[in-house]
Subunit: 164 residues, 2 copies
Amino acid sequence: MVEQLAFNQLAPRSNRGGPIRDFMWKNPVPTVDVIIEKDDKIVIIRRKNEPKGLALPGGFVNEGEILEERAIIEAKEETSLDVELKELLGVYSDPKRDPRLHTITPVFIGKPVGGHVKGGDDAADAFWMNIDEIKSHEFAFDHKKILMDYLKWRKQKGTYWSTK
Amino acid sequence: MVEQLAFNQLAPRSNRGGPIRDFMWKNPVPTVDVIIEKDDKIVIIRRKNEPKGLALPGGFVNEGEILEERAIIEAKEETSLDVELKELLGVYSDPKRDPRLHTITPVFIGKPVGGHVKGGDDAADAFWMNIDEIKSHEFAFDHKKILMDYLKWRKQKGTYWSTK
């Protein structure tokens, strides 16, 4: 039904910039985040832009880009680490997860394969955090929920999403 | 970098429909697909609309919707089955995976919990296919790749994506 509705809704709006644009306006925006892990530590960034606070490295996916390649680019830009992706933790799509707009974010788990942690680009800072410390911190977006799911994943694997 | 670039690019376009719309125009569009399994069979649909052919049930995600809820709605509309989601198989984002536009699709694995298979909405037909038959069929989009990953998942679990 969505498919038909979405295309049907194009007609009255086609004078405002073309049908494709209006069609896409109805959709959430894809982003991607990465949990970089090594032993009992993960990489956390401190965001330079709003919403500020601690968060996982990640960012918006551009049209024409492959998700996993954008994940590696964002990890490098924000943490200075070369990262190899290992697994997908889950996909998070709660419309309230980002105060700016509705985003859908797949979250990868990866490992560092080069470089040293240093904040860059949208990250004012980047550092290793012991997983025992996760519970005692607040995080931007729904990254606390994502990280609590990650702690479950370390014990029992599985895949996760916003309402699970 | 994406985040900053994307917002910076808004200004010159703001006379063409508002910044948010132009911002989103740069992003792939999220869809969601579901592999409904029972024993050694999965549900396949025959698409009513272009691109025609065999495919997994699924569809576009609307702004404001939670991904997993849209997955359950699409499964019901296209196969008449009530579905419970069990795991996430992966996320597929190859820009060429859909001939119409760049889509990103998380793929859930679910089980039927009610109803009988019957095509509806965008599905001209829906039916159970034995997993042994997957290899001998062609599918729309990148659904053959997704289904080959699903066959791996049945043997060794794990999570999958376009370039893995």
